[in-house]
Amino acid sequence: MQFYISILTFTLISVIAVTGIYVLTGLTGMFSLGQAAFMAIGAYVSGFLVVKAGVPFVLAAIIAVVISVIVGYIVGLPTVRLRRDYISLVTLGFGEAITALLNQTQSITGGALGFSGIPKITTLPLALISAIVCIVLVSYLKNSKYGRQCIAARSDELAAKAMGINVPRIKMTAFLIAVAVTSYAGVLYAFFTTYVDPGIFGWKKSAEWVIMVFFGGVNSLTGSIFGTIILTALPEVLRFAADYRTVFYAVLVLLIINFKPTGLFGEYELSVGNLLRRLSGKKEERSNA
């Protein structure tokens, strides 16, 4: 039973991180290869505050997220004005820098040996409620003016600016939301596994999430979440060896990109409206791109 609770909690934490990535990549079309680094900041800062400075958990979590957002702002500042390639390259460099920093600052962070002794505070209910809250908030965001402007900026930056949309600002907003959510996921992660080390927060992890989002369907929040659930929970349950799992994902996603690039779910979103329409047999008004 404990095993299944553990898998479920890990999956929920991944889902939380992925909602952030959905806003960044799905809605706004930016690819960050450094999201795992923000998760690391969330994990290490909150862990450090609680373990070494005796700060209560909730406060530590808030401080960790705030610090991540500030760092994210600095990273994003020169980058959001530029073409899409730059955010990927800069976040990749950033991820490497954070990993190096964590490895080097042995006295504070334990370096490559990791940081342990974090109390176990994340429970399944906490993870579940957090995940649900994140999903709900991001859904509302998608249907708001922010969501629309993000999609517009992704679709055609020039036309978006021509409509009066402050494109760098909306990109920064999306980026910071993703950073906040991902660092929160990091907090939950640290206080669940009670141990973190720099190795788990590399660009491969960021890449893995992007892959999960595309597997399910980058344009659909529902798809991204289901993709994450399937690709996180399934191999744990089936006990794939970690290395084979990576190759398996990669091959799967390459197949999908070749044959159904919009992902398993395409543009479909799970909502009460859609469900009712499906059940009553009415033709769905949305079509796949």
Partner: protein, 255 residues
């Protein structure tokens, strides 16, 4: 209202436009014509802020907008459509139009994450305004369609509805009749005059369909190789030998 003063723009060694000037008052329809490559779209791009003029200035209602950011220029009151349609994929027709309203929408990120009363009210207000403009161009019944599923003529109308929602003082239409059949061109002509009368802004119109431009413009500017070669009323332009030479060549001008 809009003053373009001696604007020039070069790319590398190529002088795309040189020393172009025009003025437009409320209610004016100004046509801009010229052979392909004459720099017409470049002129629009400079006015709307995609490029910054190398020389000269663009003044809107007394305010110098030459060096402003593109999105700020839109908010000052320049709206536009594009020659090759640039609608937002992934959004419905109504959502496309709402994108133009969104920068003016008055709620914050907190309201963006939650269904607060302020958000619901602003979204409703936005929807009403956008649906109004969709109706003005006759597209209200398509509001939940995907733009890529619509025929060309309707996509063009959508671009116009979207530009109108920016509440422009000056509307730049870049070849709005391209690809339309004669009936659609007539509809468009009628739409443009109606808009001008009802809303009272200035319209700058780039067009190759001379029956549209000549029929509807109060004044026409002709560009060739980036330089202004004539300006005047449609009648004057039709007789102008330089214009005829530019379009048809030396021989025809002598006829």
């Amino acid at each position: 209202m809009l003053e373009v003063r001696n604007v020039s723009k070069s790319f590398g060694g190529v002088k795309a436009i040189q020393d172009v000037s025009l003025t437009a008052k409320k209610g004016d329809i100004i046509g801009i014509i010229g052979p392909n490559g004459a720099g017409k779209t470049t002129l629009f791009n400079v006015i709307s802020g995609i490029y910054t003029a190398d020389k000269g200035s663009v003044i809107l209602d007394g305010k110098d907008i030459t060096k402003m950011e593109q999105y700020m220029i839109t908010r000052e009151g320049i709206g536009r459509t594009f020659q090759n349609i640039r609608l937002f994929r992934g959004l419905t027709v109504l959502e496309n139009v709402m994108c133009a309203f969104d920068p003016l929408s008055r709620y914050s990120i907190i309201d963006g994450l939650l269904p607060t009363p302020r958000r619901l009210a602003e979204e409703k207000r936005g929807r009403e305004i956008c649906e109004h403009y969709l109706e003005v161009v006759g597209m209200l019944k398509y509001k939940n369609e995907r733009p890529e599923n619509l025929p060309y003529g309707l996509q063009r109308k959508l671009e116009i509805a979207r530009a109108l929602t920016c509440q422009p003082k000056v509307l730049l239409l870049d070849e709005p009749a391209a690809g339309l059949n004669p009936t659609e061109v007539m509809e468009l002509t009628e739409l443009i005059s109606r808009l001008c009368e009802e809303i009272g802004f200035a319209i700058l119109l780039i067009e190759h369909r001379l029956e549209l431009v000549m029929g509807i413009s109060h004044k026409i500017h002709v560009l060739n190789f980036g330089k202004p070669i004539a300006e005047g009323t449609p009648e004057e332009i039709k007789e102008n030998p330089d214009v005829i030479k530019a379009y048809l060549g030396e021989e025809e001008a002598k006829c």
